[in-house]
Symmetry: C2
Subunit: 402 residues, 2 copies
C-alpha cells in the first residue's frame, strides 16, 4: 500500500473512531499527520480522557484499519469516491472551520467544529468546483406551502444564475430547494449526515438519485453510517462553511436550520433569513434569529440573496419601489395647485392660488404647465382635474396612506 493510500485509509479510520469535527483529532492530524495520529490513538495515547474511552469503545467493536478498508470497498461498489485534502477537488474553504468557535456551548457537539478529515462523494462534478460559487438554502422539515414555494423559487433562481444550491436533503425546505435547482437544470449538492449508501430520509431516495446524476451527494461518514441525531449538527457546520452564505427559509422555535445559520455567522459567512407570517409557527425561529443576530440579513428573494453573496458591484438587488407617478416630476407649487383642485368641477384661479398657498402669477404659470402635461383642463369656470381616463387623475385624487 502506497504512503498516500496509507494516509487516506488512516483518515477514514479516524472518522470511524471519533466523530467528524473532533478538535483533538484535528490538532493531532495537523501536527503528526493522519497515519501517526491513528497509531497514537490506537495505542491509547489520546490527549482527552473522553476521547480515550470513545476510541477504546469503538476499537472494541472492530479493527479500525480493517473497517476503513471495507468502507472504501463499499464506496467503490457504490460508485462513490473518497476526497481528502490531498486531492485537487478538496474544497479549501472548509479550513475556516478550524477558527469556528460558537458562543455559549452547552453540548460537546457544539464545541467539536473542526474541519472535516475527508468527504465521501457521489457524482461527477469536482467537489471544490461545485462548492466554489454556492449558497445554502435550509429550513424546516415540517415546512408550509408558503415555505416550500419560497425555497423552490430560491433554488430555481440561484441555479438559473449559476449558483450551486447546497442543502441537507431533508423533507420540506431542503427538498424544495434541491428540486428548484434541478428544475432550473442547475447544480445542487446534498450534504448528508449518514453513509451515501443509506441516504436519510429514505422517502427522498429518488431525489438523491436525481441529485447524484447531475450534482453531488456528499457525506463525512463512511458507507453504512447511520443518521444518529448529533450527526445532523456536525454536518451543519459543513453546509455553513462550504458555502458563501446560508439562507433560512422556515424555522420553528427549536430548529437545526438556525443552527446552520449560527455556524455561518461565526464562520464569517452571510446568514440570511426569509421572514414569514408572524402567525406561522414555522417562522418563529426565523424571526427570533433575525432579532437575536444583528449580522443576520433579512432577504425576500433571490435578488437580495445575490446582493449579499454576489461579488461587489454585480448581482445587486433593485430597491423595492412603488409605481413612479407623473406628479413625482412636479415642483412644490405645481403639486400644491394640483392637490388644491376640487375632486369634481372647476375652481377659479384666484381661489385656487389662495387654497394652494401659491401667488397668482406663479399659479397661472404652473397651471398652464399642468395643462400641457394634460393633468388639468382649463374651462370657462376655471381649472379642473383632467378627465378620469387619464391615469394622472388617480394619482392626484388618492391621499397618501397613513
Amino acid at each position: 500500500m502506497s504512503a498516500e493510500e496509507e494516509r487516506r485509509l488512516a483518515r477514514v479510520a479516524l472518522t470511524w473512531l471519533a466523530e467528524p469535527g473532533t478538535r483533538a483529532v484535528h490538532h493531532l492530524v495537523e501536527r503528526h499527520g493522519p497515519v501517526e495520529t491513528l497509531d497514537l490513538l490506537l495505542d491509547g495515547g489520546s490527549p482527552a480522557g473522553w476521547l480515550h474511552t470513545t476510541v477504546a469503545a469503538r476499537s472494541a467493536a472492530g479493527d479500525a484499519r480493517a473497517v476503513a478498508a471495507e468502507a472504501l470497498e463499499r464506496a467503490d461498489r457504490l460508485g462513490a469516491r473518497l476526497v481528502t485534502p490531498d486531492d485537487e477537488e478538496w474544497p479549501a474553504q472548509v479550513a475556516s472551520l478550524a477558527a469556528l468557535r460558537l458562543p455559549d456551548v452547552s453540548r460537546r457537539v457544539d464545541g467539536e467544529t473542526a474541519p472535516p478529515l475527508c468527504f465521501w462523494v457521489r457524482g461527477s462534478w469536482p467537489l471544490g468546483e461545485a462548492l466554489d460559487r454556492s449558497v445554502a438554502v435550509v429550513g424546516a422539515r415540517a415546512a408550509t406551502g408558503y415555505g416550500q414555494h419560497v425555497a423552490t423559487e430560491l433554488g430555481y433562481g440561484l441555479a438559473e444564475r449559476d449558483w450551486t444550491v447546497v442543502s441537507g436533503g431533508a423533507f420540506g425546505i431542503d427538498a424544495a430547494a434541491h428540486r428548484g435547482a434541478l428544475t432550473a437544470g442547475g447544480l445542487t449538492v446534498a450534504v448528508l449526515a449518514c453513509g451515501l449508501d443509506r441516504p436519510y430520509p429514505m422517502g427522498n431516495a429518488a431525489l438523491f438519485d436525481r441529485i447524484a446524476e447531475t450534482g453531488l451527494l456528499v457525506s463525512e461518514w463512511p458507507p453504512g453510517a447511520e443518521p444518529l441525531r448529533p450527526r445532523f449538527l456536525i454536518r451543519n457546520r459543513v453546509i455553513a462553511a462550504g458555502t458563501r452564505g446560508t439562507v433560512v427559509v422556515e424555522a420553528s422555535a427549536r430548529s437545526g436550520a438556525t443552527q446552520t445559520a449560527r455556524r455561518a455567522i461565526h464562520s464569517n459567512r452571510v446568514a440570511m433569513v426569509v421572514p414569514g407570517p408572524v402567525t406561522s409557527a414555522m417562522s418563529v425561529g426565523a424571526h427570533e434569529f433575525l432579532r437575536e443576530h444583528s449580522k443576520a440579513r433579512l432577504v425576500t428573494g433571490v435578488a437580495h440573496v445575490l446582493e449579499e453573496v454576489g461579488r461587489i458591484g454585480t448581482d445587486l438587488a433593485p430597491l423595492a419601489r412603488g409605481p413612479q407617478r407623473a406628479t413625482d416630476a412636479l415642483d412644490d407649487e405645481a403639486r400644491s395647485l394640483l392637490e388644491a383642485l376640487p375632486r369634481r368641477g372647476a375652481m377659479g384661479v384666484d381661489r385656487l392660488s389662495a387654497r394652494a398657498g401659491v401667488d397668482l402669477r406663479t399659479a397661472l404659470r404652473k397651471l398652464s404647465l399642468l395643462e400641457e402635461l394634460s393633468m388639468v383642463v382649463r374651462r370657462d369656470d376655471g381649472y379642473a382635474l383632467a378627465p378620469p381616463a387619464k391615469p394622472k387623475r388617480a394619482a392626484a385624487e388618492t391621499p397618501a396612506s397613513t
Copy 2:
C-alpha cells in the same frame, strides 16, 4: 380679548396662513411669540420668499384673525377644544420635533417638521396624559386579512396593558388597531390630517365617533380643513413624535406608514416592523424598511413591542423556545447511549457502548440512570427505548431537522 386669548387666536391664524410644521414660522414664534409673529407675517415680513407668497396668497382669501375666530366658534359648536403649549394638557414630547431632520429631503414637506403650534382635540381625556404611555400602530390602507388580524391583536394587547394606541384613522391597519384597542376597552387616539368636523375617510365616521367617546380625535388643522395630500405626511410627524414608538404592520413599497416610522427613528423613538409573507405586496415596504434601517426592530407581537417601549426591566418579552425535552437534562454520554439505541428491539450493552462510543462501565452507569428516568427499559436481550406511550421516545427518535 385677554392676552392669552390673543395668543391662542394667533396660533390658529398662523396654522391657517402656513401649514403646520413650517420651520420658519416655528422659529419666529419661539423668538417673538405667536402674536408678534402673526403681525410680522401679515405685514409681509416673512424671512423666506416662498413663505411670503404663501402668506400673501392665503391672506388674499380672508382676514387671518377673522378666519381663526370663526374656526374657534366652529370648534365650540363641535364640542372640540384648542390645546396650545400654554395648556397643562399639552404633550411635551412633541417638542422633540424641533430637532428632527430627515436625511435626503426631496420635497419641501419633508423638511418642514417643526413642532405643532396647536392641537384641536375632541374627547374628554387630557391630551398629554393620553399620549404619555402610547404606541403608534400604522400601516397600509389596502391591508390584507393577515395585516388586519395582526393590527387588531396589537391594538387589543397594548390597550389591555394600559398603553394608548395611536393611529391615523385610515382604512385598513389604522382602523384595525383603533378597533382592537376599543374592543379591549382601552384608550385610543386618532390623529387626523383634516378638520375634526369632516373626518377623513368618511367611511370611518362611526369609528371616529366611538373613538371620541372613550378616547381622543386630534388634529393640527382647524375645523373645515380638507385632507389635502401633503397634510398626511405633515400629520405623520406628530404620530411619530407623540408616541414612544411606531409599529408598522403592513406597508407597500411606497407607503406613508414607513414615512411615519422614518420620522420615529429620526426622533429617537423606536421604529418597529411586523414582517409578513415575502409573497405579499403589502409587506414589501415593511421588509425594505427593516433592510434599510439597522435601528428598526422586527417584532412579531405585543410582547416584543412592550420589550421595546416598556420601561427597562418590565414588560420583557419571553424568548421564543421550543418544547423543553427530557433529553435536555442528560449529559453527553447518556444522550449518546439513548441515541445509539435501535428504533425497535433491544441491543446488548457491549454493542451499545461501542456504537455510542462510551466505555462499558460508564455505559452501564448511564443506562441504569436512563432506566430510572424510564427512558429505556432493560430486557433479557439488552436495553431498549421505553415504549411509545412515553413522550420521551419521540424526542429520542426524531433526528434534528437540518
